[in-house]
Symmetry: C2
Subunit: 195 residues, 2 copies
């Protein structure tokens, strides 16, 4: 195996171990020692790939954000006008997406106090809202949205509803089943006249 | 000053210092040393009031939740049918409410991994949703809500929208001014036929 592949694979293994630790036990579990134990390597190896645990936290967060973008892109490729489908790609409707939300919530509490993290979070949230607005403009042009709809306002609301639903789900999975998550979203889209 | 008053006042001072540290610097700033320095007392005094920093974190969170409930109660006393006003009592429309949200976000990342914290968070979220549903039932009975409105579904959506908006605001205060927060909420209530 060429050394560069080995390097990237090992870095990915460390990131995945960090993701599982962060999702299961929170930011405090992200120590060089615990990550090394989870990967089955020495602490020197972990330190080789990540300067410090904030560096690993950022990589774990970025990987989760990239998975979300890949889900969005896949849904948009299937049907770029399926607003419900696009939003569902981001909701914690299965274990994988719920794990990603646990990563984001752990990251948020750091992002509130680390400027570059906060700016990244802001940028991603704005991008999501813009993406929702763009899909809604397309729906409006096709006569598939209430013509009275204030699109920037509605896109902001949908952009806020996504993390809002996710926050309810992670603390109350029994009260917020996938069926209920979809119903809460569908109710909003129906009121917006999406068809 | 009687000793019992002194005790409670000192405990409140420690909680307030913990609140400021948590909101400004996150969970990692909640150490016995930093809290003691902020209060201007010895670490022994802090340890006298709080078993450990999770204990203080919980007190800081509870105090923030109590402030929110007091705001809600005050609004409900003024006009129990003012749904927009009730929700605005919880939104980060000023510095005090934004600080409380920063406390909650810091608490959330712990609550995901500490069972009693998670149960408390779930209980408070359910109570808020039930409270919203109750107000909506009153509006419906008074003919001040779209008669087609699915109240449990709409109350869940409003309950999710509140932390969702708050999460956008703390990372993007310029993009989520109080005017915009109110407009995003007003758009939802207009669609629900609230009048």
């Amino acid at each position: 195996v060429p050394r560069v592949v080995d390097h990237e694979q090992r870095r990915r293994e460390v990131t995945e171990a960090g993701t599982r630790l962060l999702a299961a036990h929170g930011r405090a579990a992200l120590t060089v020692r615990r990550v090394a134990d989870a990967v089955g390597c020495s602490t020197t190896v972990v330190s080789h790939y990540f300067t410090d645990m904030d560096d690993l936290l950022y990589e774990v967060y970025t990987a989760a954000a990239e998975r979300a973008r890949a889900r969005l892109d896949a849904m948009a490729a299937a049907d770029p006008a399926d607003l419900q489908g696009l939003i569902e790609a981001l909701l914690p409707l299965d274990a994988a997406r719920e794990q990603d939300w646990r990563v984001w919530f752990a990251f948020w509490s750091e992002a509130l106090h680390v400027e570059r993290f906060g700016l990244d979070q802001r940028s991603r949230a704005r991008t999501t809202t813009q993406r929702l607005a763009k899909v809604m403009k397309g729906l409006a042009a096709a006569g598939r949205l209430d013509p009275e709809c204030d699109i920037p306002n509605a896109a902001r609301r949908l952009g806020a509803l996504i993390p809002g639903i996710a926050a309810q789900v992670v603390f109350d999975p029994a009260g917020w089943t996938p069926v209920r998550q979809r119903a809460v979203l569908a109710g909003e889209l129906a009121m917006l006249g999406v068809r």
